[in-house]
Amino acid sequence: MAITSVKNLKEFSTANERFEGAHLLCPGCAHSMIVRELMNATDDNLVIATNTGCLEVSTAVYPYTSWDTSWIHIGFENAATAASGAEAMYKARKRKGTLKDPDAPVKFVAFGGDGSTYDIGFQWLSGAVERGHDFTYICLDNENYANTGGQRSSATPVGAHTSTAQAGRVSYGKKQKKKDMVAIMAAHGAPYVAQLAPNKWKSMAKGFQKALETEGPCFINTVSACTTEWKFDPKDTIHITDLATDSLMFPIYEIINGRELNILYRPKNVIPVEEYLAAQGRYKHLFKPENRHVIEQIQKDVDEFWEYLQRREEAKV
C-alpha cells in the first residue's frame, strides 16, 4: 500500500516497497530515502530513468538490481530524454492498442544528481520539459560530483571545499554561487516545480504526489545530504538536513505554473548558517579568521533569498 494519506512515519515505513534495501549507496546517504519516498508515494506503475551517478552505479550492478519496477539508465545526461522517449512510446502504443495492460496507470520519473541535472544533462532536461512530456524529474542534489570523488558542480555552494575547487592556503573553496535551478525550471513554465527535503518527509511525500498527479513535466530539487563528501557522521544525515532547512540554506517551497510560489516550511526558530556550516567538514576552513567573511556573505545571501521568496509568496507571483 502506498501513502494515500500521509499521517505518520509508521505508516510510511510499512508502505509499498519497490526499491530493495540491498544496494551499494553509502551508509547514511539520503538518496535511498528520497527514492523510497517517491516510490511509496504512488500505487501506479512506474517507469524510472536514472542518469549516471551515485544512485545508478549503486542500484543496478549486474546481475543484481534494486529496482522492482521498470528502470533504465543510458548515460550521464539523458534520463529526462529516456523518460520522454518511453512516455512517447506509451502514448503511441495506447493509441494503437498494443499495450499489455492498457488501463493500468503509468507514471514516468527521471532521477539525476546535481551533476547530471545542473551541469552535463541541463540541455536534455530543458528540452524534455519544453516538449511537455508527462513526467516528473527529481534531482538528488548533494551539491557535488559525489560518484567520482567529490568534484565541484554548479550546485556546489560558495565556500565549500571540493576536489576541483579546493580550500587551500590562498583559496576558501568554491567562489561561484549555486545555480538557481528551481527558478530556471519554473521559467520553463513547468506546471509544478518544488524544492523538498527528506527530513520534512510529509511535505516531500505530498510534493511527490502532486508532481505525479500533475499532467505535464514537473521538476523537484531535493536536498540529499552526502555523508562522504560533506563530511559528517553517517548517523547524522537527517540532523544535517534539519540544519539545512532550519538555517534556510535549503528553503522548502513550490512554484505552480511558474507563477505561484508557496513556502512549504517555515522554521519556528531560524538558526544561523554558521551552525549548519560548522557541522560539516567541507566548510571547516571557513572558520579560520581570514575566511570568516565568507560565512558572513553566505548568511547575507541566505537572508536575501528568504526575503525574496517571502515577497514572491506574499505578492502571489
Binding site: P63, N78, Y90, K91, A92, T98, V106, R131
Partner: protein, 413 residues
C-alpha cells in the same frame, strides 16, 4: 488508424523521400529526431505524413541528435518500433548513445545520409560519419541509390527486430548524390510493405509491469567482457537473418540483394572495392573498359559494412591480380579502413592467389568521383597486374588538387 497513401507502381522520389516513405510504411511507433543537412528532408517529409494523418505513432522533435538517439533508446526499451535519421555532426553527437543502444540490444533503425565531418565544416557527402559508426555495434546496410535506400530501410526493421538479432540497424545513403537526386522508384503498396515488415514484437519491454526489467546495468571486469562478446557474436551471426530477409524481399519484389555485391567478377583480373554511389560509377567505368580496352574489370561492394562480409570478400577476390580499395573517408595516419579490412580478409588465402592491393582516398567533402577517374584507377591496377608489383605508392589520393600525395612504396628486389 493511420490513413493509407495511394502510391503508383513507379514514383519519382529522391533518397530522402524514399527513406521517409519506408519509415511511414513501417508505421514506426516513435520517431525522435533532430534535423541536419542533408538528411533534414527525411524528418520534414515524415513530419508532413504526421500532420496529414498518415502516421499513428509519436513524432518527438528533440533538441539535439544526442537527445534524438536517447529518446529512441527510451522508446525502444518501452517496447515498440523506433526510428530516426541523421548525418555528419549529428551522427557524431549521437555516437555515445549509438553504443548504448546496441549494448542494450534495442532494434532502432537509423537512416544515415552520409556527409563529411568537420573541420573544415562541409555539408557534402563522404563516408566519415559512416566510418565513425563502424565499431558501434550496429548493423550497417549501404544503399548505392534511392531505390536501395527505400528497400533497405524496410528490410532494416525486419532484420533488426528479428528475435535472433535484436540489434539496431543503420541504412546509409550518400549525401546529395542519393539523398537529393530524384529517380524512378518502385515502392510496395502500404499493405504489402507493412505485411513484409510485420508487427513489432516487444521483448523485455518496460511497459509490461508484470515482469519488471532493468536496462543499462553496470558491469565491470567481472561481466563486461562476456556482454560485449555476446553482442559481437549476435552481430557476426546476424548474416543468417540478413540473408533470409534479402531472400524474402527478392521473392516479393524481384529485387536481389547480397551481403557482398559483385559486378562483372566472373572473369575479372582487376577490381575496385567501394561503398555507396561510387559503386555505380565504377560499374559504368568497368563496362566501358571491357568494351573499349578489353580490361577485365570488376567491382566488389559490401552491402553490409557491418557485419563485414569477410568470407565473401575472400572468395570474391581470391585469384585476382590487383585490387584497389576505395575509401571515401580520410584515415588520418593509417591506411583506409576498407583497405585494411579487405586486406585482412585476403591475408588468410594462399600467397599465390592473393591479389596486389592498393588504397585510394577519394571524394572527401563531396569532391566528384568521375567515370573517367574510375577508368584511370582500373587501368593503373591493370598496369600493376601486368608487371607483377605495385608501381605507385600503395596509398594514393584521387581527385586531390595540387601535387600528388601518396604513401608507402613497394621495394623491388
Amino acid at each position: 488508424m493511420a490513413e493509407k497513401m495511394d502510391l503508383q507502381s513507379t514514383e519519382v522520389w529522391d533518397g530522402n523521400y524514399a527513406a521517409a516513405q519506408a519509415l511511414r510504411q513501417a508505421q514506426v511507433d516513435v520517431v525522435a529526431a533532430y534535423p541536419i543537412t542533408p538528411s533534414t528532408p527525411i524528418v520534414e517529409n515524415y513530419g508532413n505524413f504526421v500532420a496529414n494523418g498518415y502516421v499513428d505513432g509519436e513524432f518527438v522533435m528533440v533538441e539535439s541528435e544526442h537527445a534524438a538517439m536517447s529518446g529512441c533508446v527510451g522508446a525502444a526499451a518501452a517496447g515498440g518500433r523506433v526510428a530516426t535519421a541523421t548525418s555528419s555532426q549529428g551522427f557524431a553527437l549521437m555516437v555515445e548513445v549509438l553504443y548504448q543502444a546496441s549494448g542494450m540490444r534495442l532494434p532502432i533503425v537509423l537512416t544515415v545520409v552520409n556527409r563529411a565531418l568537420a573541420s573544415p565544416l562541409n555539408v557534402r557527402g563522404d563516408h566519415g560519419d559512416m566510418y565513425l559508426g563502424r565499431d558501434s555495434g550496429w548493423i550497417q546496410l549501404d544503399a548505392f541509390n534511392a531505390q536501395e535506400a527505400y528497400d533497405l530501410t524496410l528490410m532494416a526493421f525486419k532484420i533488426g527486430e528479428d528475435i535472433n538479432v535484436r540489434l539496431p540497424v543503420m541504412v546509409h545513403q550518400d549525401g546529395f548524390i542519393t539523398s537529393h537526386t530524384a529517380q524512378n522508384i518502385h515502392p510496395l503498396s502500404d499493405d504489402e510493405a507493412y505485411a513484409f515488415v510485420g508487427d513489432y514484437k516487444p521483448v523485455d519491454e518496460m511497459l509490461d509491469f508484470s515482469r519488471p526489467v532493468t536496462y543499462g546495468a553496470q558491469t565491470e571486469e567481472d561481466w563486461h567482457f562476456e556482454h560485449k562478446a555476446k553482442q559481437h557474436r549476435a552481430l557476426m551471426d546476424s548474416y543468417v537473418v540478413i540473408d533470409r530477409v534479402f531472400e524474402e524481399f527478392e521473392k516479393k519484389t524481384g529485387r536481389k540483394y547480397k551481403r557482398l555485391e559483385t559486378y562483372m567478377m566472373e572473369d575479372a583480373e582487376v577490381a575496385i572495392v567501394a561503398l555507396g554511389t561510387t559503386v555505380e560509377t565504377a560499374i559504368l567505368a568497368a563496362k566501358q573498359l571491357r568494351e573499349e580496352e578489353g580490361i577485365k574489370a570488376g567491382i566488389v561492394a559490401p552491402r553490409t559494412f557491418r557485419p563485414f562480409p569477410f568470407n565473401e570478400i575472400r572468395e570474391a577476390l581470391a585469384g585476382l591480380k590487383c585490387v584497389a580499395a576505395m575509401d571515401r573517408s580520410c584515415p588520418m595516419g593509417a591506411m583506409g579502413a576498407l583497405y585494411n579490412e579487405v586486406n585482412g580478409a585476403l591475408a588468410s588465402i594462399p600467397a599465390d592467389q592473393r591479389p596486389l592491393m592498393t588504397n585510394f582516398i577519394y571524394g572527401l567533402g563531396g569532391r566528384d568521383f568521375s567515370v573517367k577517374e574510375a577508368k584511370r584507377i582500373f587501368r593503373e591496377q591493370k598496369g600493376h597486374a601486368d608487371v607483377g608489383y605495385i608501381t605507385t605508392p600503395i596509398q594514393q589520393f584521387s581527385g586531390l588538387r595540387g601535387p600528388k600525395l601518396g604513401f608507402y612504396e613497394v621495394k623491388r628486389s
